[in-house]
């Protein structure tokens, strides 16, 4: 099975490799087949040094086999190149590097730049402006972000805020096709990075707050035609639930739960989008991804589990047919979207090797889940949690803290984690060398008023009454190294602001991440010892990468440009006196404007 996949991948790749280096493409194929590396085994032994998708490999490890930059040499790291994107909203994307070209997609208006790494100063080779509809900005919930692109078979793929997926020729920037998947008129936007699996581009929608019906769509990579669409509410047929569907837990078993776990017809605009990360296991031929919070009904108005919101689907990569589902937060009370990344690794659990996925979840638990069955093997808090009292491994369900149940008109205090969760979308990394997961985490709690009783239809949106603040310790963020086998925190670094950037970890034994006040940091992957840091022009909320340049040297790149939900106070110039702005996040971030101004810039770092 695996070798077939490799052959197929190579065959597809070579259709478009007339002028390009096949080695770079081999990198994507090679890493794709190594999702199941045991700890200590390199998941990407033939790493060409390219970076073809935000999560590096299909297993989403964000681990690079490059090892020129080590715990010793990292201290000599210096700026080798910069590039202003020309935009000032939150920059969340990962750059890509393929065939000595770097690709960047900006936040709205989602301009794509190709930079020529072979030339001094990495000049722009081509750029592409998709000219998204301005009205899309009024539909996006939190900031007008974009989380990155994907490269496959001579093309780059990305999504626009106004609901399109676009394929460009990687060499020229020429448009191959444009597929309109989401409709901003219905409140749908697209902010996620697509994942390309074989000949399909996988894309999900955002907009749970606006009463959309969530979905994941597979688009044919060659034609742009929709191959299949799986909805996340409604009848089994629409959800692509059929004979293969074998969820592990009872509460996910039964006919048409996407209807019956909602009152009346509430499922029709029940939210449950897919705006986060997708992983792929070529051996099992399964894709894994999570669904967002249910909406737009208040929790009291949607009794039931609200399937298939805030959960994790395993689906057949070719047909989209569901294979299993696990719900992190049935009947979500706290806006705990289930869209975070899942890292596919094989680990010894109770003496036996298991194919698992690691999921640092918004509700604050680090889940180790058997990725063949959906069974939760362990779920341990990686941040301070008050909203639940643990995960019942017999039922798979969280044990709710009854004293914190929101009831109408009352303010519930000290709900931890706050709505952005123990961590939000910002992706962690896994090193097979250390066996640790590196988690960029939040330490935030909130006061939550269950009812925004004052809403007046037809007048401007007045946000719900949510106030967020730092959790125990007073730091709002933490960078955590977690041992998923030992089920414990190994070390951590407290950060003043939420750590809203992704992570990259390398065979050189170094982990990189950024902070919202603009520091780009390198730490020892084994010990957490700070090794090096550089102050970029704006806060960092994007995903760092590392790659091999045309000169054979290892480089590290990151986009600086604060914004996003957490950084909206800077990027959106919100009034710091309005504590409930940006859904309450502003209250926790009043000092951010002093710590970081806005502006998007790419930084490339290298050794002398």
């Amino acid at each position: 099975m695996r070798s077939i996949v490799i052959l197929l991948a190579m065959a597809l790749l070579c259709i478009g490799c007339g002028r390009s280096q096949p080695s770079a493409l081999g990198g994507s194929g090679g890493s794709a087949t190594n999702t199941s590396g045991t700890p200590g085994q390199n998941p990407a032994p033939d790493d060409t040094g390219d970076w073809v998708r935000p999560a590096k490999d299909y297993a989403s490890t964000r681990f690079s086999a490059l090892d020129q930059i080590t715990a010793d040499s990292v201290k000599q790291l210096g700026v080798k190149g910069t590039f202003s994107t020309g935009f000032v909203r939150g920059h969340e994307a990962a750059p890509l590097v393929v065939n000595n070209t770097m690709y960047i997609v900006t936040p709205f208006p989602n301009v794509v730049y190709a930079l020529d790494l072979t030339q001094p100063g990495a000049p722009v080779k081509w750029s592409y402006d998709p000219k998204p509809l301005a009205a899309a900005q009024g539909v996006a919930c939190c900031d007008v972000v974009n989380r990155g692109m994907a490269y496959s078979n001579g093309a780059v793929f990305f999504n626009t805020l106004d609901g399109r997926t676009i394929a460009l020729e990687a060499a020229t920037g020429k448009e191959k096709w444009v597929a309109t998947l989401a409709d901003i008129n219905k409140g749908e936007t697209i902010t996620m990075a697509p994942l390309v699996v074989k000949d399909k581009v996988l894309v999900g929608n955002s907009g749970g707050e606006l009463g959309v019906r969530g979905w994941l769509t597979a688009v044919d990579a060659n034609s742009g035609n929709i191959a299949w669409r799986a909805y996340h509410t409604g009848p089994d047929n629409d959800v692509l639930i059929g004979p293969r569907f074998k969820p592990f837990y009872k509460s996910d078993q039964g006919r048409d739960l996407g209807i019956h776990s909602w009152p009346g017809e509430a499922w029709k605009n029940g939210g449950a989008g897919a705006w986060g990360w997708i992983s792929y296991d070529p051996a099992l031929n399964l894709i894994y991804y999570g669904t967002s919070n249910p909406g737009p009904w208040n929790s009291e108005q949607r009794p039931g589990d609200n399937k298939w919101s805030t959960g994790l689907f395993a689906r057949d990569a070719d047909t989209g047919q569901a294979v299993w589902f696990y719900q992190f937060s049935p009947h979500d009370l706290w806006d705990y979207d289930g869209i975070n990344e899942q890292i596919l690794v094989d680990l010894p659990i109770n003496g036996a090797m298991r194919k698992v996925l690691l999921r640092p979840e918004r509700n604050g638990y680090l889940y180790v889940i058997d990725r063949t069955t959906g069974e939760v093997l362990s779920a341990d808090p990686f941040v301070h949690i008050t909203s639940t009292k643990g995960i019942d491994l017999n039922t798979g369900r969280p044990i709710e803290n009854e004293s914190l149940k929101p009831t109408m008109g009352t303010v519930v205090r000290d709900v931890c984690p706050a709505a952005p969760g123990g961590k939000d979308w910002q992706p962690s990394a896994y090193s097979p060398q250390t066996g640790f997961l590196y988690i960029p985490a939040n330490n935030l709690c909130m006061d939550f008023e269950a009812v925004e009783a004052n809403y007046i239809a037809g007048t401007p949106f007045v946000g719900a009454n949510v106030r967020m603040y730092a959790g125990p310790g007073g730091n709002r963020g933490e960078f955590i190294a977690w041992d998923p086998v030992g089920r414990k925190k190994v070390w951590s670094i407290k950060e003043s602001f939420p750590v809203w950037s992704g992570v990259v970890v390398t065979a050189g034994g170094v982990a990189f991440y950024g902070t919202m006040d603009g520091w780009f940091k390198a730490v020892n992957a084994r010990t957490g010892e700070p090794l090096w840091r550089f102050k970029t022009g704006s806060g960092i909320i994007s995903q760092p990468i590392t790659y091999r340049g045309p000169d054979g040297k290892q480089y590290v790149a990151v986009l600086s440009g604060v914004g996003g939900w957490s950084g909206a106070i800077v990027a959106g110039e919100l009034d710091a006196r309005d504590a409930t702005a940006a859904l309450g996040f502003v209250n926790a971030m009043t000092d951010l404007p002093k710590a970081s101004t806005k502006g998007g810039t790419l930084y490339i770092f290298g050794l002398p």
Binding site: Q137, E209, R577
Partner: protein
Amino acid sequence: MSIAIATLLASVLTAAAFAASVGGSALRVCSDPNNLPFSNTQREGFENRIADLLAHDLGATVKYTWWAQRRGFLRNTLEAGLCDVVIGYPSHADSVLTTAPYYRSTYVFVTRHASNLRIRSFDEPALRTMRIGVQLVGDDGANSPPAHALSRRGIIGNLVGYTVYGDYRTNSPPSSIIAAVARGDVDVAAVWGPLAGYFAARQSVALDLAPVRPQQDGPLPQAFDISMAVRKSDRARLDRLNAFLVQHRRDVDAILARYHVPRVDR
């Protein structure tokens, strides 16, 4: 002589500064492009009419910044400095300065006249079995007060949600809930007054409107004051708008009456 010139110059400068601060040749209004009866780009809404009246009073012309009234509306318009006045805004809001209220309306029950249902109160037993349309806003506890009043009474499974954002391709997307009553998709709907008044008058069947009761349902108000809004730093403009509203109370009331806006007393 020199004193006279200085005084003259000062008064010219003051007038210019005032004109600039209040709008001068342009009254810059933040508004939704597709939200009748409040506003639209054809300037057919009652907020467009009130803006015209205000502009006339200031000797200015109206210049719109159009933005859908969703999350981020204020952030991207008023607070971004692209425009200076929001014509209709909840008076209790604390992120902006609001004028004295210039009208107060209420959520109303909308039924087909021919159905003779006479729904007046959330406590009506018949509501337990009817199909009830409610306006939906967003998650995180933000929904319309009638939806909360009904769920407080355990009336949940027979609610049908109509998002206030609706399908933005259609004219005035929030009006779909009124059309649903007229068509018989729902037996009754609880709708914000200005929207209900305007669209009820435009259906092919006769619709009845009645203010929901109780008007204060436990912690939940069902009637609200509406004001104009400016940036928090814009005290001078606020004073000018308040003066306008006092001076033109009758004219503004007449506009609201023409649009069938149900108004209630405090």
